[in-house]
Symmetry: C2
Subunit: 462 residues, 2 copies
């Protein structure tokens, strides 16, 4: 029977080619113009799961994009692993900052990836990391190495809030019953520093609209005499942080989990170079909440960021206009114990309350999700740790991620099982950014490591 | 010999048809995509001046769009009137707020215009008001009623700063020599309240760019740890006004002309209904600099307004991104004695100085112009006043406008003559806004009034 390593060596080129084909489909869930592409991607995933050896694969329709479900049950008495991933991707704009078209994948060598990296939207988040599991499954089934039962649940709305997945999970508890949930949609500290994500931030995403006069006005005839919605919006947004960059929304911090000095000291041990961080972003200084380190600011502390803003004349040249409306998209990253729906309501009430006379304000919640923390003494964590030791030759570091996978806390609530986040991406992969990429080495290392998790989890469970 | 009134009655339909044809050409000077349309408009103006009886008409090339010049010199010993206007228009967006396409003119009745109003971009600003002079000229030449010499100078870059006109004027003092400059590019208080604009605000228009990280970032992985250019831009813009809506740029008010209580009392006599003003804009309150009335805020006081802002994801749905860059277009309306180039420099220095660590700021001046005030005891003002008395049956009220015609102060400087601003538009004409229109009554009233100005100016000069 062939080892995973020799199997990868033999099939490496095909593993890359298959991923590249998958990356060519622009499955942008946020933009309805790509609906047919998103649906086409679901079909492609279905076929790939069948080829990988799943006995029963189906496209589960929802009110939005479908969920691809597949399973292979070898013995009801053996443990069951539920693999979650998503086949939708972030919008690729701004397009002009990509060095190659986002949906025409290319493999390029980089300083960090001398073996080459696949450049394309979704290369890492999450098509590449999701597909590692499909290929690991293929290895296990074709080499009679599958030690337990497995279920796949691959959705197409992760980048827009997983609203329909939540409904699907709540109404399919039996079908999805499992002993552990395995996800690769996070990163690791460095290629030589494996890590397991033990925490995720929650999210509340809202859109705000400020309306002043009922029509665009001439800034000469009306300038200075009526509320300019853009000026007002900037004042309102600016007021959401104080001089220490604390968020000023009343009640915002009430439920925030405060880590002990010991826990913060433990976190501070993770290798981190502020100089390298600043250099990689070409910034002369970091910026954030007073009293916290960079790694704390982007993991254990909640934040409020404007993700988009627009209003008035944004074309070439000049137009002396006072716009009737101004808009912003604002997201808040939340930490464990902050309820995203409570926070959304707090934001809405506060933002509406600070609107000056002369404008009307509308706050529209987009979506959100709860934060999540997982213990490091669970069977799943131990199995993952042993798998990394096997393939990296060192024990992985537990780390909190600043990102959000809204569905994870819901999994625990509905399915009563823990999620293990085995991420193989790097911060430098530029997910959600132009030139997103995923190292060929990382992709193959993921495929190599996953079967070991299956092995150790099954052993530790027995 | 036919009277102006009977001439208008006889040719009314043709006057409207000709203007409508002119309005069909999208001469948007701010957008280079419309270059051929802007040039076509210049040719149309040339032809119309020839038909109106000018002896010598030429297209004067510049580094930008051409200036159409035409003249009729009947006697070197008689006074000369220089008519200025512009054939370019503002961009029409937002297009979705127009009730009919901006370049497909339609005549519709409105509450204020029971005789109908022409709806189209440029209907009032300034194709309609400029064309009144062409038709008045046609009447005078075809009825042997032209009492003095006349020169026309119609440019195509007023909406983008008249940069090349300034050079043209400075290098053609002889050609443009005149006794008074006549412009219709302003408004009047109401159809039954004729007014003459005696002041204009200056303008400084800049574009700002804030750059944070060298690429768009995932707001989960980086949120809270790096300066978000949009959050920073909102803070910087918000700080430009204090709690009394005074502008905080050091030195900004140093040269601002302060009107005496008597002058302010005189201004306050102009008929104005705050309720009607709020109702027409559908706002529950006005907004502006503490200590000044609405009419003062938009005429004798300088202002700072954001005309456009953009950054990050502005498409459909949600994208959790921290943008690399954020932008805004900002214009300042200036009052007499404030030098626009000084103010532009003050803005640039201040805005760059308030940038926090972690971002880079770039300020690009677009264009600008000086404010202007004209005395009410000049021959030109008296002639205009008598002309309005003749056709409106009442004495016009002198009023300061909040708008800017940057070129006016330059005319006085280069050509040593005063400008008379005879405007026939109304604030409700929505210039620079969707559904710009110009009352048929106003259009014809302008054509009727202009020849009387020629008559009285020539008499008073002799």
């Amino acid at each position: 029977m062939q080892s995973i390593n020799s199997y990868i060596t033999e099939h490496k080129q095909r593993f890359l080619d298959e991923l590249i084909e998958l990356l060519k489909i622009p499955s942008i869930s946020a933009d309805s113009a790509y609906k047919s592409d998103v649906l086409k991607t679901a079909d492609t995933i279905k076929t790939s799961l069948e080829k990988a050896g799943c006995d029963h694969v189906e496209i589960c329709e929802t009110e939005g994009y479908p969920i691809v479900y597949g399973e292979k049950i070898i013995d009801k008495n053996l443990p069951t692993i539920l693999v979650y991933g998503h086949y939708d991707v972030q919008p690729p704009d701004p397009l002009d900052l990509w060095n190659s078209p986002p949906f025409e994948p290319v493999i390029q060598k980089t300083e960090l990836h001398p073996e080459g990296a696949i450049f394309a939207r979704g290369a890492c988040d999450d098509k590449g990391q999701m597909y590692m599991h499909v290929k690991a499954m293929e290895y296990m089934t074709s080499n009679n190495e599958l030690p337990c039962n497995v279920k796949f649940m691959i959705e197409g709305e992760e980048e827009v809030g997983s609203v329909n997945l939540a409904k699907f999970v709540a109404s399919n508890r039996e079908k999805l019953a499992n002993d552990v949930i395995l996800i690769s949609d996070t990163g690791m500290i460095a290629k030589d520093v494996p890590s397991i994500t033990t925490g995720l931030r929650g999210l509340s995403y809202v859109e705000v609209e400020v309306t002043g006069p009922n029509r665009d006005l001439h800034s000469g005839l009306y300038g200075g005499a009526v509320a300019n919605p853009i000026n007002v919006l900037t004042k309102m947004i600016a007021s959401l942080h104080d001089e220490n960059n604390h968020i000023t929304i009343p009640g915002f911090y009430d439920k925030v989990e405060n880590l002990s000095d010991a826990e913060r000291a433990e976190m501070a041990k993770a290798p981190f170079s502020l100089d390298a961080y600043k250099k990689s972003l070409d910034i002369d200084a970091v910026y954030g909440e007073a009293g916290y380190s960079t790694n704390e600011r982007n993991s254990i502390r909640p934040t409020l960021d404007v993700n988009g803003i627009w209003g008035g004349y944004t074309g070439e040249g000049a137009k002396t206009v006072i716009a009737s409306k101004a808009y912003a998209k604002i997201s808040m990253r939340l930490v464990p114990n902050q309820d995203w729906e409570d926070i959304t309501q707090l934001f809405k009430s506060h933002f509406e309350s600070i609107a000056p006379n002369g404008v009307k304000v509308k706050v529209t919640p987009h979506h959100g999700g709860q934060g999540y923390v997982t213990p490091i003494d669970s069977v799943g964590y131990k199995a993952a740790s042993k798998a990394y030791e096997q393939t990296f030759g060192k024990t992985p570091i537990p780390q909190r991620s600043g990102g959000s996978i809204p569905i994870v806390s819901l999994f625990e609530q509905e399915l009563k099982s823990k999620t293990i986040l085995m991420g193989f991406g790097l911060d430098s992969d530029a997910i959600h950014s132009p030139n997103e990429h995923f190292g060929v080495w990382n992709y193959l290392k993921g495929i190599e490591t996953i079967p070991w998790f299956y092995k150790y989890f099954t052993e530790l469970k027995s």
